[in-house]
Structure formats: structure tokens, C-alpha cells
């Protein structure tokens, strides 16, 4: 009987257990069926067996209709380059920060009132009266700074590791848009408590935006929904903060992750590729791009845009 956790590993990656390994009995000696018939499992044993298999059966039922296991296997068990280190977790950390913001934001929206006369009191109500309100508000408030910092660190990692280079330029561009939207979230969210600090910070922020020549004044009017900061400004910021930008962010993060999986990650710039046993121009130049297994890291192996095929060793270590 294999372990339950082993059952969850997709079939193509499941190791065939060898006789003598844990969980697999040694080959029993041939039996004389007449004198020593094999024992039939009792009803209890059969039921237990079925119960153990039920989750796998359920997953199999879903997968037969969704056909997702191939995609999930390719994504979750993809190979990553040698030298992958903790810096590569900054993107996932930023994603986690975004998820925290999304979840806490949904629950804050249940108590928040985007009205100039009630916004401040509704935030005070969240902080003082609502059960765990101060915690959820604090997670959202501090998490915003954490997310901005993580996005910047992730951007720095990408820059200093040269991970923005061909063929990943588009992912860099998407990342820059995500950065801009993150800053938009930070800016629009700052006004929502509607205390002195957020009021004056938004005035200053809108006026900085207005100093752009020609279009600046109109952009300021657009942000404020009028010549002065008023009631519509708050609802406008609220709508941008919780409807417009989050939708765009989710879509762009999806595209960002798709490209990460599709193109694979890069090796750190200091990684030395093992000396190839045979290095010759490959017959199939686009093999690296079209392989679903992740584009091989740039750096050594790529000379003047020509991909050199290294027969056995492509710089990919085991995942």
C-alpha cells in the first residue's frame, strides 16, 4: 500500500517502487495455493482501502474533465537552473503581499464607508470596535508598504541578475506596469482614512501630478473629479483603489506568472555552466524557445545570439 502523499504525485512523475523499498514487501515465496490459500481481505480492510483511495478517485474524476494535471505537472515540477537561491523568492513574496492586501481589503470594505463625512468615523469604528479590526486594518496598512518594498526588491533582483534580457523583455515591461499600478494602489489607498495626514498627502500628490505640462492640469481635475478635492474625489479614489486597479493587477500578475513558467527562470550571473562535452551549433536553433521545459538561462552557452546545444548538460540541475 503506497503512502497517501505518494498518490498525489502525478502519474508521470511517480517513481516505481523497487522490491525491498519501504512500503513494498519483498517478493513472497511462491505459495502452494491448495494447502495455503491467500487470505481474502475482510470487509473492513476493503472499506479502509476504498476510503484511502477516495480522495485520489475524486481528484481523478475532476482531472478527467479538467485535463489540468498535465499543465500542473509541467508548472509545479518544472526544472530550475542551478544556483537558484533565496533571491528568487522575492517575486513570490510580493505575490503573497498582494494576496494579503486583497483578502484584508475585502474585509475592510465590509465596514468602510467611502463618504467624506463618514470615512474617518468608519475607520475609527474598525480600529476600536470591530473584533480583530485593528489587526486587519494594520495588516492592510503595513502590508501596503511591505508590498511596495518587495516589488522594488524583486525588480532590483531582476535587474542585477540580468533576468530582463531576451527573451524576457516583455515580462520586464509587464512588471513595470505592475509596479506603476502598485504605486497607484498605494496613492489612492492613502486618502481613504480621510484624516489630516491622508487629506494633505493627497492634495500634495495630486498637485505634483498637476505640474506635468499641458496634460497635468487636466489629469488633476480628472483625479479630483473637479477643481477642488471634494466628495467625488473620495469615491473616485475608492473605486480606483478597489475595483479598477485590482482587476488590472490580477490580470497582469497572471500574464507575468505565465511568462515566468513559459520562459523559465535564469541562472544567477555568477553561475558557471559545466564544461560541455560537445559544443556545436545546434541543428534546431529554436529548440530552446519552443521547449516547454523552460528556456535555458542566458550567459554561457549563448554566443552572439546563437544558441549552442550542449548535448547532455544544459545547465539545468534537478528541481
Amino acid at each position: 500500500m503506497p503512502k497517501f502523499s505518494d498518490l498525489l504525485v502525478p502519474a508521470p512523475l511517480r517513481k516505481t517502487p523497487k522490491p525491498g523499498e519501504a512500503g513494498v514487501p519483498n517478493q513472497p515465496a511462491p505459495q502452494d495455493l491448495k494447502t495455503d490459500p491467500p487470505r481474502r481481505p475482510t470487509d473492513h480492510e476493503r472499506l479502509g482501502q476504498q476510503a484511502l483511495e477516495a480522495p485520489t478517485e475524486g481528484l481523478a474524476w475532476v482531472d478527467q474533465r479538467l485535463a489540468a494535471s498535465g499543465f500542473l505537472t509541467g508548472m509545479l515540477y518544472r526544472k530550475v537552473p542551478k544556483g537558484t537561491n533565496w533571491f528568487y523568492t522575492l517575486g513570490s513574496a510580493a505575490l503573497f503581499a498582494f494576496i494579503v492586501q486583497a483578502v484584508t481589503g475585502v474585509f475592510l470594505a465590509m465596514f468602510y464607508t467611502p463618504s467624506t463625512t463618514q470615512a474617518y468615523t468608519s475607520i475609527a469604528h474598525i480600529n476600536n470596535d470591530v473584533f480583530l479590526g485593528q489587526l486587519v486594518h494594520g495588516m492592510h496598512k503595513w502590508g501596503a508598504s511591505v508590498m511596495v518594498i518587495l516589488v522594488f526588491l524583486h525588480m532590483g533582483r531582476t535587474f542585477f541578475f540580468g533576468a530582463y534580457k531576451y527573451p524576457r523583455e516583455l515580462n520586464w515591461v509587464i512588471g513595470v506596469v505592475i509596479l506603476i499600478l502598485t504605486m497607484t494602489m498605494a496613492f489612492t489607498g492613502y486618502l481613504l482614512p480621510f484624516d489630516q495626514r491622508s487629506y494633505w498627502a493627497s492634495i500634495v500628490g495630486i498637485n505634483i501630478n498637476g505640474t506635468g505640462p499641458i496634460v497635468g492640469p487636466y489629469l488633476s481635475d480628472f483625479l479630483r473629479a473637479g477643481p477642488e478635492l471634494g466628495a467625488t474625489t473620495l469615491s473616485r479614489f475608492y473605486a480606483i483603489h478597489m475595483l479598477l486597479v485590482p482587476g488590472a493587477l490580477i490580470a497582469l500578475i497572471g500574464a507575468h506568472l505565465y511568462l515566468v513558467v513559459k520562459l523559465g527562470t535564469t541562472a544567477p550571473p555568477w553561475t558557471k555552466v559545466d564544461k560541455p562535452r560537445v559544443a556545436e551549433p545546434t541543428a534546431n536553433l529554436d529548440a530552446g524557445v519552443s521547449s516547454g521545459n523552460g528556456y535555458r538561462p542566458g550567459g554561457a552557452g549563448t554566443i552572439a545570439g546563437v544558441q549552442l546545444e550542449t548535448t547532455d548538460n544544459d545547465g539545468m540541475g534537478p528541481a
Partner: protein
């Protein structure tokens, strides 16, 4: 061994898609300029595009409309004429944006126009406390006779002209008039460095000269007096 020449026929070369020799699609007629498929493709895309515009245009218009909307002109009483003198400012608070409570209030420093400063006599000068740098609230410091901004250190003289710090133009003003012995303040306007009235600009935007074109007046503001 068969000679390859045996297989050569006199059929002229035709592209593979022509060789298939399929029957013409339904509705085909000699000399048609567009296939049915093409007509329906164009029609479907056109109607889909129109439906998309029908959604997007009103939504964008809705979001952008406030740029072109000018509110009603408001005049607020700020006290009898006897409250105000020539040589110093009196601080008045009034509502600039109605309907949002205290957040819609603003502050102005008001005095009588002064002959010594070369101003037309008998008028009232209402200087906005909104810093021309980034919009922080400035304070009139009686002892110095200057306006000082707490945020980034902007300094203005008695008339509101910039004399130090990052501001890009003098302090904004409000239109004033006298009704039944009461001084009233009206719409905001900006001034050039020579105190010439122009339409209200946001803080941080230069006035006068070429800047009038680089920071065009917004349709949501009132003409200057």
C-alpha cells in the same frame, strides 16, 4: 524498371489548394467580389465593435466629464467691512466646496487694499492660504509680515509674492465684493508674479508668459476678475 518519364503528363502546374477542386460554396455566383464568409466576418466584427463602443464611450465620458464641468459661482459672507484694515490681515474661514463638511472649508487672509502698496483703493484683498508650491496651508506671521509654509519652507511677502523657498508663483486670491455692508468672497483666481489676475491654477504650476500655454487654464475654473 519504369522510366520516370512515363509518369510525366502535360497537366500544367497548379497550386495544391486549386487541385482540390472543391465545389463552389453555397450562394457562389460568377464574378462575386466577396465571399459569404468574408461578409459575415466583417459584419460580426463591425457589430461587435459598435457594441463595445456603446459600453466604453459612456463609461469614459462619465469618468472624464468633471474636467469640463464648472460648478455654480459661490459667494460667501465673511463679515462686515469694518472688520478689515489696511495694514494687516484678518483670518476668515468659509466653505469652498459645499456638501462635504469641514473638509470643504478653506481659509483666506483678508485686508483692505492699500494705497501705499500701489493698489486701487476701496477694495478688499483675500489671499488664499493654499501654498503655490504643493498646496499645503500657509500661515500669516504677523511679526514678520510674511506668509510661511510649514511643509517645504515657502515664504511670501505681505502681498503674497514669493520671496523664498520652492513656490513657483504668488499666493492665489479670491474675488471680493461688498453686499449690504458685508464683504463677500467668491471664486478663486491665480496671479502672475506681477500680481496680474489669471484663471485659477493648481499649486505647482507657473503663471504668466509661456507658462499660460504649458499649463493651460482648466475649463472647471472661473475667469479672473
Amino acid at each position: 524498371m519504369a522510366d520516370d518519364a512515363d509518369n510525366i503528363t502535360n497537366v500544367p502546374y497548379r497550386a495544391p489548394e486549386q487541385v482540390r477542386n472543391e465545389p463552389p460554396p453555397p450562394g457562389y455566383f460568377e464574378g462575386e467580389s466577396m465571399t459569404r464568409r468574408k461578409v459575415f466576418t466583417i459584419a460580426a466584427q463591425g457589430i461587435g465593435g459598435l457594441a463595445g463602443l456603446a459600453i466604453v464611450l459612456p463609461a469614459v465620458g462619465f469618468a472624464v466629464a468633471p474636467i469640463f464641468h464648472r460648478g455654480k459661482e459661490r459667494w460667501e459672507d465673511i463679515g462686515p467691512t469694518s472688520n478689515f484694515v489696511e495694514d494687516t490681515y484678518r483670518q476668515v474661514t468659509f466653505t469652498e466646496v459645499p456638501g462635504i463638511g469641514d473638509a470643504g472649508k478653506t481659509l483666506a487672509y483678508v485686508r483692505k487694499s492699500s494705497k501705499e502698496l500701489g493698489e486701487e483703493p476701496g477694495l478688499y484683498v483675500a489671499v488664499s492660504n493654499r501654498c503655490a508650491h504643493l498646496g499645503c496651508p500657509v500661515r500669516f506671521v504677523e511679526a514678520a509680515g510674511n506668509f510661511i509654509c510649514p511643509c517645504h519652507g515657502g515664504v511670501y511677502d505681505f502681498q503674497g509674492k514669493r520671496i523664498g523657498g520652492p513656490p513657483v508663483r504668488p499666493l492665489d486670491r479670491f474675488q471680493t465684493r461688498v453686499e449690504k455692508g458685508q464683504v463677500q468672497v467668491g471664486p478663486r483666481y491665480s496671479v502672475t508674479s506681477q500680481l496680474k489676475p489669471v484663471r485659477a491654477r493648481d499649486p505647482g504650476e507657473f503663471t504668466g508668459g509661456i507658462w499660460e500655454y504649458l499649463y493651460p487654464p482648466r475649463p472647471s475654473t472661473f475667469p479672473p476678475p
